[in-house]
Symmetry: D2
Subunit: 434 residues, 4 copies
């Protein structure tokens, strides 16, 4: 049985790359170490795991993250750098803080460099300033949104970036970003291996959409859901305050509707939730909407930005990060709804709310802050143990290491026939088929 | 010397209309009553008031609001109704609650009617439901945004509305809304006078822009300023997080820039504040912006929606409430800035944030809630004392009655050479002349 | 290797009680059903699970929750009731809402009863009013803290409660509460079995402390962590604003310090985190504190209420729910710290903050709201499938059913040598041994 | 007629002290200057002012604040210092920021010194560090509570403080604090006059209680009211969630109940508001409470800390700032209520909430931030114009200068027979006489 949330039937190759043998004793003396061969089961149900053993095989599993007793890098000689890329996401500063604190308190590694403005900061000739990150300097940054390092979109030449890293004596690079960023990090790792330069490249995957495969949850997602509530409450107040009022909210979610779905679970005011994974018929939506207005006098619609893309003529353009540009479902729906009710000779009051930047740029809430600390520490443990070309994540409530190639191979999606979507249908009361 | 904030040199006729002699003893026995002839000085400085007395004249003054010892209506036979019109504004529900509580606890007047969907609710043939408002039913409504009565834009026939009011036996109509609403309320009052029907029509002026003349502050304004902070913080995070990042925020303020100005005072992140009252040259703005980006690498601009209208080709259209439709300064600026820097071959990252509905639909904050209670109580006192065709407000820290005609005669504006704008310049550090 | 967070080496008997064969087809037609024999692995690491299979045994597992294709109760003839007991916890209203929505939308079960004031409401002779809960009536309740049903502490006679349930024709009882409540629910279930009355008793475990064994996370916990941030920020402002300022915050956590620990991960301002699971020496704490004040001039201490109980003379009293009454570590620490520095002739400014009720009574944040919906739906699925004497929870990211006896057998604790505590040490920078 | 809010029948001597003739042209070129002899009327009603003129006298008035065309200090040679004293209050950092911004942008005065830990920082031998305050360093501080300078209570020797100021070449001292602080500032000003040292001492009065006479509103008060809402909501949730639930909240307000009163206006949940200005009989309160519990089943009480002091045996102790120590009305009421209902054999559930430090230490909200900017700028204008021994404030919506001696002569109180208390009675519905 396929997993109800992720939709992978066959597990990919979860083996991760290491720089070599771990020879140094970890100074991290909390008494708890993860054995080097510890692995997290990919599946979590007995009936999924049993057949493998019955067939004499091992079930698929991911390398378990966490502190190792033996580490690859000598803390006294280690230098780390951090770069953040792509669009803003709540928690960027928390991850930066976590990495610096983890390096300092767990391993006694100081002198961590902050590269400015994404991969541009790794290109020496662009002349961006380097930041020196210390526990004191990063302590308060969790209180503000954005990234203190700044960010940029788009790739740079891996060779040129590695030149600078080598010149600076950086042994560990932490790259915080989305698919494009992680692929770029992978290329730096590849180039380092070619050159025989011992560089650990560890990614912390950033996607406010929570759509990274084989990773239970990405940082910033919970905060985004929380902030979405405000926009939905506004839409409800507007819809409720007018005769035939319609509040329409566009939320993030290019390929996966997790933010929209969880936001709908967290309020009682949404009547229609539209996500990329579940196609809908515009006429059926309009008909249902018309019926609801007739009965209740108002309605609230939440649409993930990737919803209904089949209805939009897409030019197939791509943005600077290489993502396909989407048609704007929000303005499209607003226009179609108005057109429909004008034709039906019904006056409606539609208010369209697009809170995008406001959500992306808030500071992480407490849960996400703590989660970022956890992720950042695990990134540090992974790097000190010589893992490279990987991202850190969580799976089955355990910390994990995942090859960058696997993390960027596909996107996690909401299963239309799964628990989550069923809960959304029960929360909104919308027709199962629109 | 003209007042530095308002810009009226000559005071209008502040005399208010009353229904007749107050014969009933007020049941309001808190021990404090405002004498019937109490008046609030229009000016508050000695040097402004002295010349009048020197010349043997009385200085201009407004009728002081508050509870009267003798009232016009017999509480036992009084019935009130409330209507809210126009766009949402924080505090609408608080005003409704305040009026119902004031009628009930101060005067023992119950059975207050809530008319739904603005003036439409006063037109019987439109068939909107009437709400029965009680202290219990209005107690929790301050916790949600919008208006529990709903709202609509545009006028209705005064005669038709009065027919319904008479049929329902309504003696007091509270109208909460902007200029158009208040003028409409005035027409109902006029029609009642013509018919000899004793109806007190008392307005509570609603303008999130805080631009009503002779009224120190309108409800919802403080909440709007508070909410603007979030949008500005987002703009700053976005601007700060990108190379040559520009955060552009459009705030409410069609004719007056009070929200934009106060929001800029309340943060340290805004570098340019643009308001309707102070013209700016686009080339000078762009040049200053370019210089700032060169020096600091990022900038935040706040523009009131009415700023720079001279730069926009306006078609002179009007909305359903009769307000002139404005060109969109936000999208205009965004486009011009991008054009300019493209021509200058400088890559900039501009993020445009338009939080309009989110600000309009939030619940009032604590200060505004208390202020709405104060306004609503004063509206009740005024109506019970037989005042009609008026709005309630505050002036020189006193409650006031103001003829509707005066309240709607012009708009309060920021004085370009005044204290407030000077404080904004010191807070943003922007050039005095842009 | 024992699990790093929970501290159970041997799994208990996870088998759950059912009322009988499921004969009715579920009307829940979302296309996704959980097979009846689906089980969630207790362990999630390959090296933990492998030995069982090698030895020809099945690894321990919990029954997986979720909707079943065949159900026990005929929806048309089913009546449910809900009761909330014990102290307030964020999310109570969300759980109530979730159960009512789930019954209505998933199964078409209406007429759900709300019992008031905890188990008192189940005792007919006490004469408490019954509430009729509908999707409309529960829609907005997630916006307010507390429980719309009210609550009370302490047990009632199971027989007397069952008498009333039978009289009312209730087939399903949802009990939301802590250990005492759940044990009480178990007794009702036992009594029903004795009488041969087909009653499904399903608990939703409530503990703001997140200390229920075999349940990954309890509702309200995330919100409590978020709210704790405010208290810690206050303590920091007070500590930072005075010479030798000490901010002392007492947080919930009678037996387990999860709230304190996660709150410390989510801020940068805490210097000492004290939890029940990790003993500390008062002299060592005072010495470290003295050193920190000498170096930094201020300090923030967070103490879980159950921390340092060995230092307090406890009378062994119990509250109405049967929990051991704790000595007050907050006032004790405040007094000892003042005494110490007075003796050391050092003036300190200690501010003690105890935000208890403020945290317990806030509405759930968005994440917790969504989580409560998930839990409530699973409680409904479990009950409709005839499970009884159980609680619903989550484990390894799956919904689970757990016998009440197991859920109340022991408490989940922070492992002193585990990941979580290690992360706290790195976040506070406090000595590993105090 | 006495003013309904303040209770002064006779105006004191409002004349302020100046250092000498203003000879320098102000570099502040916003085009708006306040004439040197501009005065704000003490009264604002026509009937209050008219009699003075009729009698050939001038009505009482306060010096109007704001920028002057001629200033006393040469900006190029001016050095300022800032000190914050006493307990925390929202907005301290905003005032610091405002003064630094005002000096820099309005007058080009830089090099402003921050003295640490209250008046201790002005005593050289105590060796506290001096902070150099710049527009950049103070820009973000409005986002955090407390004071970046730190604070302390109690006086220091004026001569010793002046020695240090002279040594540092400080011409302007801004003192932010309460009565004791302001009196201390006055003594420094007196000592400087004796020595012939030209020092402008300008106070910004700090009282979260809003109880400074002749000042309409003090900074931080609005924020305190806002934060009180959370505590009241908690008390309501607790009260509502239990049978015979009583939520008791103690709010700030030693001599004046403004916070309690305004907080009650801003919510619908408070049933009894107790303030220092209105005595109550404990038996009557208990009787009314008993009746309410019988009818409604729950109640919320808000008590200002100075309420009911006549009921408490006060030892007449004083704290470090010289304020009389109050008995604790909160614990007293909690204990008396429990005693009463125990005697009445009625089980009640009382929850006592004392949010004191949490309210004092939050950052200022947007309105207070803007207000602090306004106050701070006016303090700068006053100082540059050579005013000394004064505080800045607002009156009749104008900026004012007030002699320190007048500001500290008495406290502003709520008039029991006035508008504000009447509004509170209508909002709570409590008996007019308790």
């Amino acid at each position: 049985m396929p997993d109800p949330i992720t939709n992978f039937n066959e597990a990919p190759d979860f083996r991760v790359e290491t720089l070599g043998e771990c020879k140094f004793a970890s100074p991290f003396h909390n008494g708890f170490f993860v054995p080097d061969d510890s692995r997290v089961l990919y599946q979590s149900r007995l009936e999924e795991v049993r057949p493998y053993f019955t067939a004499g095989k091992e079930p698929p599993s991911l390398e378990c993250g966490g502190p190792r007793q033996k580490i690859f890098f000598d803390p006294a000689k280690t230098r780390a750098g951090i770069v953040t890329c792509g669009g803003l996401c709540p928690g960027l500063n928390d991850v930066i803080r976590a990495i610096v604190l983890g390096l300092h308190y767990h391993y006694g590694v100081g002198g961590t460099l902050g590269f400015r403005y994404g991969y541009e900061g790794l290109v020496e000739r662009l002349g961006h300033q380097l930041l020196n990150l210390t526990p004191d300097s990063v302590a308060p940054i969790y209180q503000v949104g954005g990234s203190i390092l700044g960010s940029s979109r788009g790739p740079q030449d891996p060779a040129e970036m590695l030149d600078y890293l080598q010149k600076l004596g950086v042994n560990i690079l932490f790259a915080v970003g989305g698919d494009g960023t992680l692929r770029g990090a992978g290329k730096i790792s590849d180039e380092a291996r070619r050159r025989g330069y011992e560089l650990a490249v560890v990614g912390v995957p950033k996607t406010i959409d929570n759509d990274i495969s084989f990773i239970s949850q990405s940082f910033g997602f919970i905060t985004a859901v929380s902030e979405s509530r405000t926009a939905i409450a506004s839409a409800h107040a507007e819809a409720n305050g007018a005769r035939n009022g319609i509040g329409l909210v566009k939320l993030m979610g290019r390929d996966s509707g997790f933010i929209a779905a969880f936001a709908c679970l967290a309020t009682s005011e949404v009547n229609y939730c539209l996500i990329p994974e579940v196609k809908f018929s515009l006429p059926r939506l309009l008909q249902s909407l018309q019926q609801r207005l007739a009965e209740k006098g108002h309605a609230v619609i939440v649409a993930a930005e990737g919803a209904g893309q089949d209805l939009l003529a897409s030019a197939g353009e791509r943005d600077a990060s290489g993502n396909v540009k989407h048609g704007d479902i929000g303005t499209y729906l607003a226009s179609e709804i108005k057109k429909h009710f004008k034709a039906a000779n019904t006056e409606v009051n539609l208010k369209y709310i697009d809170p995008s930047y406001i959500i992306r740029s808030v500071p992480a809430n407490a849960r996400d802050s703590g989660f970022c600390l956890y992720l950042g520490h695990n990134a540090v443990h992974a790097a000190m143990a010589g893992r490279t070309n990987i991202v850190v994540g969580t799976w089955n409530e355990q910390p994990t290491h995942l090859p960058i190639s696997v993390a960027t191979s596909s996107r996690k999606k909401i299963e239309p026939c799964g628990k989550l979507w069923g809960a959304v249908l029960a929360a909104t009361g919308q027709p199962a088929e629109l």
